[in-house]
């Protein structure tokens, strides 16, 4: 897999530490204390790299065991029968469900999170913004299983009204048709994920908006801009890349969220046009739900699907970090 090659590329195991060691020795004296301490701290850094490499290597190895036995097509098969011999399984449904639920979550969470970040930095009375920001911070710390429990026992019953309404007015589109079953569907999952990633997107966006230089906002104000025009002229253009990377961090969370999806969704292994009827699944949810009954062969298959999830989240997070890094250079040049 391309991730494992990437890992070894970026951390060449033998030549690099040796070179750094020479330089380190030239800088510090050759006291034993110094050498031990440097060795310990550099060793920890290397250990982190080793762990990342090991994750990629071991997942790939176990996944290859599973995929080689797979009698379905691993990428396109609509089945997950791993305990039979020969096993037949594929990730098509999981990839679809993961993407759909995350897209719904992003579509709902990003605009609202940006609005809340603007609220905290530009609209809220000063006395209010401090405590609200604090509460947002604390909500980011609520464990996902609690969101899951709340989603299953409080949010799901409340979705009946919305689902009925959507079905009445937009049922003809097919996407919003509803057969009246328990509203444990992709849309509910998307809404719950949106609520869960709201705090992190809000927090990062808030930091970005706060860093908008006062002088750009004053420039807009002095031209006779209203508050909204100041935001459009000075705040949003400056914060755009920051908001994008915040959203991708949120997306990374949504893609990998396990327990909240597992508690809310009533899964099946099929793709539905309707977002309202129960069914579908995500990578993480499928692992949690199928793990209990899986044999060793089944576990390897789950590991294979986990590897795909790992690669996807790596790409998303890597992209987010790259955007942040570019932004740093950019704002540094203009500061």
């Amino acid at each position: 897999m391309d991730i494992s090659t990437k890992t070894t590329d970026a951390s060449p195991p033998t030549p690099q530490p040796a070179a750094a060691g020479k330089r380190g020795a030239a800088r510090s004296t050759s006291r034993p204390g110094d050498r031990i301490f440097l060795g310990l701290s550099r060793g920890s850094g290397i250990l982190l790299l080793v762990i990342m490499a090991a994750i990629a290597v071991f997942l790939t190895y176990r996944a290859s065991l599973a995929i080689s036995k797979d009698h379905g097509n691993f990428l396109t098969s609509f089945e997950w029968n791993t305990n039979i011999d020969p096993p037949v399984f594929g990730i098509a449904v999981l990839a679809f469900g993961t993407v759909v639920s995350s897209v719904i979550a992003m579509a709902l969470a990003v605009p609202i999170a940006v609005a809340i970040a603007l609220f905290l930095t530009h609209y809220a009375p000063r006395r209010m913004s401090g405590p609200v920001a604090y509460v947002v911070d604390l909500l980011a710390a609520v464990p996902s299983i609690v969101y899951g429990l709340w989603g299953a026992l409080v949010l799901v019953p409340h979705m009946n009204g919305l689902f009925g309404w959507l079905n009445d007015y937009f049922g003809w589109t097919g996407i919003f048709s509803w057969d009246g079953g328990a509203p444990r569907s992709m849309l509910t999952v998307g809404i719950l994920l949106a609520i869960m990633i709201l705090p992190i997107i809000t927090n990062v966006s808030r930091e970005v908006f706060r860093q908008v230089p006062q002088m750009h906002e004053e420039a807009a104000l002095a031209l006779g801009a209203t508050r909204w025009e100041v935001i459009r002229m000075a705040v949003l253009p400056f914060g755009r890349s920051g908001v994008i990377s915040a959203s991708m961090l949120g997306l990374g969370r949504a893609l990998g969220e396990t327990m909240a999806v597992a508690t809310v969704l009533s899964p099946d292994f099929d793709i539905h046009a309707s977002l309202l009827n129960p069914g579908g699944g995500t990578f993480a949810q499928n692992i949690a739900s199928k793990f209990g009954e899986a044999t060793e062969q089944g576990r390897d298959a789950l590991i294979a699907s986990g590897l795909i999830l790992f690669v996807i989240t790596l790409l998303v997070n890597g992209a987010a970090r790259a955007i942040i890094a570019r932004r740093k250079e950019y704002s540094g040049a203009n500061a």
Partner: protein, 353 residues
């Protein structure tokens, strides 16, 4: 100048149509009343729908009224303001509901008995039992994870800030970032693949290993930030006295930033204490007390919540226990957060004045 004069739509006076200060409240009140009317008339049962109708009416009403009185630009400004407020209120509803429900339903069975007894042979659908075994398991697993993850994380941060230059440091920085985004279930699968190869049965320490992986990048990041705040003059002053670098780091740099580092570690603990997925894969769950994290399945609070919910086929007693355990877990996480922030404020390095 003449071109500008032709198209300039500015009013001649500084005074233009202006809505009074109380107008947003009036429009909000009006929309709520109308929405309630529509709701009653159409027989909408859900109060959430009433609220959504009121929100839409509020935004539309603001736009129409402001356009008539103040002109289009002011109207846009007011709509933006009202949208931002509406977004804020919409976001507040689920979050308040979450906290409120957890507290309201959690206090039902949360008592000393609940905290000091395990589930034992109590059936999932029956009332009784407690979370003692889950608390023990959580404390042991999280404690061991911290013993592994925190030192490695702090040392890595020391390496990056105090020694790190060149390719290795850049690679570590990049992969720490990437590692922050590793889903917890993937960390669980990684340890699981090791266990499959070594043919091991679930036990508490396996969960600790996965949690430690999740904890390290968080600790590295926060510690790095704190070490960067230590002024270079301090390091130079110490080095100039002939103190070796490692003693400078141990005796000057780390003590100066110890408050912030502690805060970061506590926030990381709060994060991993709520992780369920790796525990589900690696520790398995157990309704009896198992004090030994190195052998045999254990329980943990987040997993307990999940199992009470998932394995009980809708029994109220199990749901009550799940809420009570949630409240315990949230309380634990929140207290850690509050204490951590308290330490951060109390021990904040005095930079500049």
């Amino acid at each position: 100048m003449s071109t500008a004069a032709v198209t300039d739509k500015r009013p001649n006076s500084l005074r233009s149509g202006h809505l009074p200060k109380w107008s947003p409240w009036a429009i909000a009140g009006g929309s709520v009343v109308v929405a309630a009317g529509i709701g009653l008339g159409a027989g909408l049962s859900s109060k959430v729908e009433w609220g959504l109708i009121a929100a839409i009416l509020y935004v539309l009403g603001t736009f129409v009224i402001a356009t008539m009185v103040e002109g289009k630009r002011q109207a846009k400004d007011r709509v933006a303001t009202s949208l931002v407020w509406v977004a804020f209120l919409i976001a507040v509803i689920p979050l308040v509901s979450l906290i409120w429900t957890t507290v309201k339903r959690g206090v039902k069975v949360l008592d000393p008995y609940f905290l000091t007894h395990s589930m034992g042979i109590v059936a999932d659908s029956e009332p009784g039992g407690g979370i003692y075994h889950a608390i023990i398991g959580s404390l042991e697993q999280v404690g061991l994870a911290t013993l592994i993850g925190a030192p490695i994380g702090v040392l890595t941060a020391v390496y990056l800030v105090e020694y790190g230059r060149g390719k290795l440091a850049r690679a570590v920085t990049f992969f720490v970032d990437v590692m922050t985004g590793v889903p917890s279930i993937v960390a669980g699968l990684f340890i699981l693949s090791l266990m499959l190869m070594l043919d091991m049965q679930p036990f508490g320490f396996a969960g600790s290993l996965a949690l430690a992986i999740l904890m390290m990048p968080v600790v590295v990041r926060s510690t790095e930030e704190m070490l960067k705040l230590v002024p270079n003059e301090l390091r130079e002053a110490s080095l100039a006295l002939g103190v070796p670098k490692w003693r400078t780091i141990l005796k000057v740099v780390l003590p100066t930033s110890i408050g912030g580092i502690t805060t970061g570690i506590m926030l990381a603990i709060a994060r991993i204490a709520g992780e369920t997925a790796p525990i589900l894969l690696l520790v398995w769950g157990n309704s009896f007390i198992n004090n030994n994290p190195f052998s045999g399945a254990q329980q943990a609070l987040p997993l307990y919540i999940y199992q009470q919910y998932a394995n009980s086929s809708g029994s109220t007693a199990a749901y009550d226990r799940a809420w009570a355990a949630s409240l315990t877990l949230i309380a634990f996480v929140m207290i850690l957060n509050l204490v951590a922030r308290g330490i951060a404020r109390w021990k904040a390095p005095k930079t500049g004045r």
